[in-house]
Symmetry: C2
DNA sequence: CAACCACCTGGGAGCGCTCCCAGTTTCGTG
DNA sequence: CACGAAACTGGGAGCGCTCCCAGGTGGTTG
């Protein structure tokens, strides 16, 4: 109960534009101009406003701003995978770091959206395509995921991380996996191996396919048979199983290109279990140049992809699109390079 | 140029409440009531509104709503660490999964905020404490991080993941690291080891301290000296270096408790490099029960902590607080348990 | 010195929603 | 059958901001 005579304490909520204006002795409009760094404000006013903002600790109300500008100053990072796989993956960690770096300085927030296991994306699609975010970065593991395309079709600016298998025209950023596979094959050939196998990634992912195709190309360049192929998911156990399968089929193989370091680790385990020495009996090349590559013995020759750069580039591409920049490349391939270590010495 | 006579196409933006109301033949208010599941709407109206919403594909404008309710329906996940460490860490991945699970069904978005390397948190603190999110989950690696406390002091509901070192009263959820360390020590004692060392985590983190203190307690229970202590960060190399240090100081040690599986992996590497066999010469216990524990040979005895549960509990605690629930526990400790594998057999 | 322009400033309108209150209808009861 | 209560409904106000336009002020020019 407020008694007459009580000092009614002023609402101590966040200060508004209006209050800043009053404190600075100018109008709402002028404060707004200062905040948005628009021209047409005298030095004197600008300074008064800046001081008032400082002393009141004013922070613009994003909701109010968003209501009128129809921009949210946020972009979504959509991970369309049960999450188990993606987080904890050093590859993804690097991408995320790149995204963050690319976003810093743009005053935009990152809204993380994980696809629920039981969700068909309906919910998510509706949410995203109805103005809650300005754009979306979609990291799909499975290249045939329809989500990126559907979001783009709904008018939301989208950049995919990794080439979507369905050539849907969604702009994407990816590492040059084809060249990576090619480099690996060429390197193994150059070291003198001839019975070269590969453990490719899943056949329904672009990474799986592209690296495999690159390897095939390298094999055919050298006129070697390119039929020792096994597939594996990105896990140690998967890699081990695939290695076992290859050894059954091709007991005499002398080299293997694994489509990921983690797969290579599994291969190492299986080779060791069978008493095969690396690199003396079998040379091994990985992919990623993750921390794994240098943690195992022997340290892995591997194909390095610019992970952080990938995240940064995705973000740049999206922000540029949001800024309405013309002549943006529809998609971008980042270079991969071979890093030679002890797992692939030249044969004596 | 719009010529007179041109059919001016109606703005095809997202439909508004007003339009839904018109389509359903009711008022704005009634539609609002339906959307917010408030009582006091006849079945007939409710149905008409539902149909209209469906057919127009209406999605509420969060900004407008947020402007008046002063709620944003989003919570921040603050990772106050350069990110390099945190993402890619399977521990964090599990926590994140738990957070997501805890959030699903609450209609709240997760806004990811990584602390920039060069930032002192000023920016972040200002942003967070001025109404941009309803609450924050703070995952700090370093326990003396002032951020959780400062956010809470600014009036933002905050739950910390991991015990903040400065006993600032911020509610937190953590694994029972003390008991974990205790269990590890007791187990090693029970298997017949007597010269037991530990590689603790960093001394400025609660995990480092609590696990160490638990181990010390276990050692003193058994009237064993608890002075073979080295510290390490959470990395393979750090673990190896610490192991080396311990072996210099205590050449005859027969067991080591590493405060993390990744540290244990480093220890294994160093032991192997020095020709010491695990478990014959030295028994090893890890912590986390991460995928690492079962990837190495021999598979590690380790202390399991309920990682996903941790994330879920943090989220639950925060949402409960936001909902204004009374009698919330200020902080919560989740149980840890020992998982025995081949790295710690009883001595013959 | 009138006329003009460039520069700056302030206030009104309105973004889409929730909340409040006043009205209207419907129903149960004496 | 009248009356009050309960159930439902609709419109106004206003959240804090941006955008637009109508002014005001000063300086330059013919």
């Amino acid at each position: 109960m407020i008694e007459p005579g009580d000092a009614v304490v002023e609402d101590r909520g966040a200060p508004t534009l209006e209050e800043v204006a009053r404190a600075a002795g100018v109008s709402r409009s002028t404060v707004s101009r200062v905040i948005n760094e628009l021209p047409g404000v005298s030095g004197r006013s600008r300074e008064a406003v800046t001081r008032a903002i400082e002393s009141l600790g004013y922070v613009p109300n994003e909701a109010a701003r968003s209501l009128v500008t129809r921009r949210t100053n946020s972009v979504a990072l959509v991970v369309s995978e049960p999450g188990d796989r993606v987080f904890g993956d050093p590859f993804f960690a690097g991408v995320l770091r790149g995204i963050h770096a690319g976003l810093s300085g743009s005053r935009r927030q990152l809204v993380l959206m994980l696809m629920a296991e039981d969700d068909d994306g309906e919910q998510l699609e509706k949410y995203l395509s109805s103005g809650h975010v300005d754009g979306a970065l979609v990291v799909s593991m499975h290249g045939d995921d329809p989500l990126p395309h559907r979001l783009a079709a709904a008018g939301l600016p989208v950049v995919a991380g990794g080439r979507p298998l369905s050539g849907s025209g969604v702009p994407y950023v990816d590492a040059d996996n084809f060249t990576g596979g090619l480099l690996a094959a060429r390197h193994l050939v150059a070291t003198g191996r001839t019975r070269i196998a590969t453990i490719a990634g899943p056949g329904d992912m672009a990474v799986g396919i592209d690296r495999l195709v690159g390897w095939r190309r390298g094999m055919s360049e050298a006129r070697l048979a390119a039929d020792a192929v096994a597939h594996s998911d990105f896990s140690v156990d998967g890699g081990a199983a695939a290695m076992a399968e290859l050894l059954e089929r091709q007991p005499g193989l002398d080299a293997v290109f694994a489509a990921a370091d983690i797969i290579a680790v599994g291969a190492l385990r299986e080779l060791s279990a069978r008493g095969l020495r690396v690199p003396e009996d079998v040379a091994v090349v990985g992919f990623d140049d993750s921390v794994l590559a240098t943690s195992v013995t022997p340290r892995l020759t591997t194909v390095r992809q610019p992970v952080e750069e990938l995240g940064r580039t995705m973000t740049w591409r999206l922000l540029a699109q949001l800024a309405g920049e013309p002549h943006l490349p529809p998609s971008i391939l980042l270079p991969t390079e071979l890093v030679v270590r002890e797992s692939t010495p030249p044969v004596a």
